[in-house]
Amino acid sequence: MFAERSLRATGRGRRGTNRLVFVLCLAAGALALLPLVLVLFYLLTEGLKAWSPAFLVSPPGGITSKSGGAMNAIVGTLEMTGLGLAIAAPVGLAVALYVTEYREGRLAIAVRTAVDLVAGVPSIVIGLFVYSLVVVTMGHFSGLAGAIALSLVMLPIIARTSEEMFKIVPRRLREGTMALAMPRWRAIVAVYIPTVASGIVTGIVLAVARAVGETAPLLFTALGSNFVVTDLNRPMSALPLYMFQNALNIGFPAARERAWAAALTLVAMVLIFNVLGRWLANRNGLEGR
């Protein structure tokens, strides 16, 4: 009888612990989601108050002036991200091919290690790298330096995803190209790349989503500008930079409003690329991270 009671008691204890852990996990999940809910809530309430379509196409005003938009930042983001991608996509693809298809011994390992190194470097350090190499050489801050910094943010992501994709080209397909005596370049260009194209595109989209939101690599490369600049040889603004500079002047209501509007625009852009990338990744059975 005593034994039975103590058994039941332990049973209740074990079941109690079981339930307690479930409740704790539930609480952890809720707490983990809380910041997302809060960030989105503030973005939508404060951001929508300050946002208007005119925000996207008006040149900026002064810090205190009510009017003024983010056209300089939008133009800069499009131009620098575009040029950065035009550098990072071919180089990333080349690196992936070099490492998987050509595999030239130590050099391939060196290339891969270097790209992995950049992947692990904090983005502010990428800014310092590009400052030391490009800004010091050119003698001034420029949109070009900003684009190079963004290309370094994107390069490891594109190289890594493409590499993973080339690795999963089916063996049968490889043997097929050999059986047809295809030269290697035709096998790569006409068979391998089309087979894994959607995976490569996924990597590119996720890389763009990352680059569009980066502030730190642009701080002392593109620097920022209050004018709508298209000349890559001059300092240039970008949406995160624009938001950063307005957010620092939190004391001015107009600057604060512009920061919220920029935040909303920025998050919308990043989320669109992210959701697109994840959707592509899921469709291709890739992990979208």
Binding site: C25, G29, L38, V91, E104, L128, L219, V270
Partner: protein
């Protein structure tokens, strides 16, 4: 006829070889790939060397030891000590881990073990979306929403009996190591959660069923089967989170208070390696100020390099054991 056919064979073969057009594509693509890859390699090495050379300029002014152990940072009087920033980065990153790891593990267990797929997918997706929000947005949101909330939390703790311990002592300003730790925790939560989830997912079905069949409760199964199995992967996720926390710049800059000091209290304002580079570099015009900031960048680089190396080692060991499960 037969006499003719015999020599014809090698002839056809030879003409076949002759007829094949010269293969230009192969060298073209190979060299294109090579040159682009080598360019990338050269650019990366060039940047490393240039940055190192810029940082070495500082040694004319301050010795490496004095720089690493100096507790004063006063550009106006050209005194450069890196310790306040190293300390700030260490404290905020550890705080972030302390807050994020339990939450991430709980959330990972919730999604993987408890919730039905229909509820698990949106929760997992929501947590991963946290990683998509740019850090400048976190920083701004942190100043406006988080810091005021945390100020009252900090005041309550500092005012209670805990305030007697120097770690929790006042005065409370709002922006602090603690506020930075909370923001960082939010930012690294997704990576820790998702790596932990991947590791837990790899638990063999048989072991799990075995534990349940022996009468273990769900929690006991988790405790004795899932967690031990996923330990390596969880550790890898934690190190990856640490690596993110160390390098995070803009969000920290907004909420850490930007005071180059070393203070035992986590409620005091401080500074971190990346955030001081971000806020001072563009306007650094004192002698050796840019060099000192690049020197801080080198410390940051080495720090994150070491952490990434550790992460890779752990991930590598874990991958071997899990039979190639990808936990990158």
């Amino acid at each position: 006829m037969t006499a003719n056919a015999a020599p014809a064979r090698p002839e056809t073969q030879a003409s076949l070889i002759r007829r094949r057009r010269p293969n230009l594509g192969d060298p073209l693509l190979a060299w294109g790939v090579r040159i682009l890859s080598w360019l990338a390699l050269a650019a990366i090495i060039g940047m490393l060397l240039d940055t190192a050379r810029n940082a070495i300029g500082l040694l004319e002014h301050t010795s490496a030891w004095d720089f690493l152990t100096g507790t004063l940072w006063q550009p106006a009087s050209t005194v450069y000590g890196a310790l306040p920033f190293i300390y700030g980065t260490a404290v905020t990153s550890l705080l972030a881990l302390l807050i994020a790891v339990p939450l991430a593990l709980g959330a990972a267990l919730l999604v993987n073990e408890y919730l039905p797929p229909r509820a698990a997918t949106p929760v997992a997706y929501g947590i991963e979306l946290l990683a998509a929000v740019p850090s400048v947005v976190y920083g701004f949101w942190g100043v406006i929403v988080l810091v005021p909330v945390l100020r009252s939390v900090q005041q309550a703790v500092a005012g209670s009996a805990l305030g007697a311990i120097s770690v929790f002592s006042g005065p409370v300003a709002g922006p602090s190591y603690f506020a930075a730790g909370v923001i960082l925790a939010i930012m690294i939560l997704p990576i820790v959660t998702s790596v932990a989830r991947d590791a837990m997912k790899a638990t063999p079905r048989l072991q799990r069923d075995g534990a349940l069949a022996l009468g273990a409760t769900h929690w006991e199964t988790i405790r004795h089967v899932v967690l031990p199995f996923a330990r390596g992967g969880i550790f890898a996720g934690v190190i990856l989170g640490l690596s993110r926390a160390i390098g995070e710049t803009i969000a920290v800059l907004f909420v850490i208070g930007n005071q180059p000091q070393i203070n035992a209290s986590i409620f005091a304002p401080g500074y971190s390696l990346p955030s001081v580079i971000a806020s001072e570099f563009a306007e650094a015009n004192q002698p050796f100020h840019p060099e000192a900031l690049i020197g801080l960048g080198v410390i940051l680089f080495l720090l994150s390099f070491a952490v990434n190396l550790a992460a890779r080692t752990v991930v590598g060991r874990f991958e071997k054991r899990a039979g190639g499960a990808d936990v990158r």
